[in-house]
Amino acid sequence: MRHHIEGTTMFDGDQAQKGYALNRMCFSFNAKENREAFRVDEDAYCAKYGLTREQREAVKSRNVLRMIEAGGNVYYLAKLAGIFGLNVQDLGAQQTGLSVAEFKEKLAAAGR
């Protein structure tokens, strides 16, 4: 039944359950005061949202693939990435092991 697509995690019921606490924390970052609170005391903020150990470690590592592995959904993770000053090209570069310049070139090449 499951359709495996290389390098892609389907955000399905299993992932949504697994990632709930992490995604709920990221959803809170719509509010500026919450982004500030995270910046001031990341440990306390993550504890308040009940992140699992795996999720806490993934956030600490700033590693997007680990956050996805821990159930994170990219639409919510992008709000967290914004706090770290990372845009979607930065995220793409990190996940594919390319430099940001190489990742942008990969995108441009897709149009040629």
Binding site: T8, D12, G13, F27, N87, G92, T96
Partner: protein
């Protein structure tokens, strides 16, 4: 009676909001994308739609995973935008038409689409950016936002979204007020933000989707959601909004304009403009 005069499909990448705020329309990176709207502006200036029904997906502004409706519709007289957390400027609010929303709700639910009804709904960049792109002077029409879940699987099928659009199209056609309505489908085309396949873009599939959207949209309903993810990328599933938009054009449809440019941010950016003529006026395709 109300009538659906046409439709637009457009990308809604958040960074477009920043580019508009920073007036980068003529910047070499952005120009090929923004130039794709001139033809749309011209058409809008001559057709002057009163209402835009906007099919889009929320990205975690109005809906969270605690309650995720497959299909939701706004039934308000105003729709606000708020801070989305990723640094794009907050947009001004769009006006709604609750009476038209309730008419659509009554008709569409009556046909078997169990919409979640929202008397309050925040609209995110997936609604506000297309409005800013299409009406840069800010003279937005009234909107009816329809939100389709493209975030948490299982997603509604291509066929279901197309049929939802058809049902909305029929509902508009029996609305007794004399209003000109257009439909907008936002998002896509191919892109993937997450995973080791991040940066995936599929020009051939995008072209096929745009071609078939005009000529034979039903042929696209054969793709399952996993196939769309595979062919268009994990976020390329936003094409579901385009399927609904196309479904609402139940007359004789012709493509008046198309623009396709890679990349905008991580996305294959596309803009299409469709005209919808009553079937009785059927004429030879151009």
């Amino acid at each position: 009676m109300a009538r659906v005069i046409g439709g637009v499909g457009t990308t809604h990448v958040p960074s477009i909001g920043k580019a508009i705020a920073d007036r980068k329309q003529n910047d070499p990176y952005w120009k090929p994308f923004f130039d794709g709207f001139h033809a749309v502006h011209k058409w809008l200036a001559s057709e002057k739609p009163d209402v835009a029904v906007v099919f889009s997906n929320d990205h975690g502004l109005n809906f969270f995973l605690d309650k995720m409706p497959t299909f939701a519709i706004g039934a308000a007289n105003e729709y606000r935008n708020e801070d989305e957390g990723w640094g794009i400027p907050v947009s001004r609010a769009a006006k709604g038409n609750a009476a038209l929303s309730w008419h659509i709700i009554n008709e569409v639910v009556g046909e078997g689409f169990d919409l979640t009804m929202c008397q309050e709904m925040l609209v995110d960049h997936a609604v506000t950016i297309p409005l800013q792109l299409m009406w840069p002077n800010g003279d937005w029409p009234v909107i009816v936002p329809v939100s389709i879940n493209t975030v948490q699987h299982p997603l509604p099928s291509m066929a279901r979204c197309y049929e939802l659009g058809r049902s909305v199209g029929r509902a508009i056609a029996c609305y007794p007020e004399n209003v000109k309505v257009m439909v907008i489908g936002t998002g896509g085309l191919s892109h993937q933000l997450d995973g080791k396949r991040a940066g995936f873009i599929n020009k051939d599939f995008d072209k096929l989707c745009m071609d078939q959207l005009v000529a034979d949209p039903e042929s696209l309903t054969r793709y399952t959601i996993p196939q769309v993810v595979e062919l268009a990328g994990a976020q390329g599933v936003e094409f579901l909004n385009w399927m609904a938009m196309r479904g609402a054009l139940t007359g004789t449809v012709s493509e008046l304009h198309r623009n396709y440019h890679i990349p905008i941010s991580n996305t294959a950016a596309a803009t299409v403009l469709f005209e919808n003529k009553p079937r009785v006026e059927r004429r030879k395709a151009a």
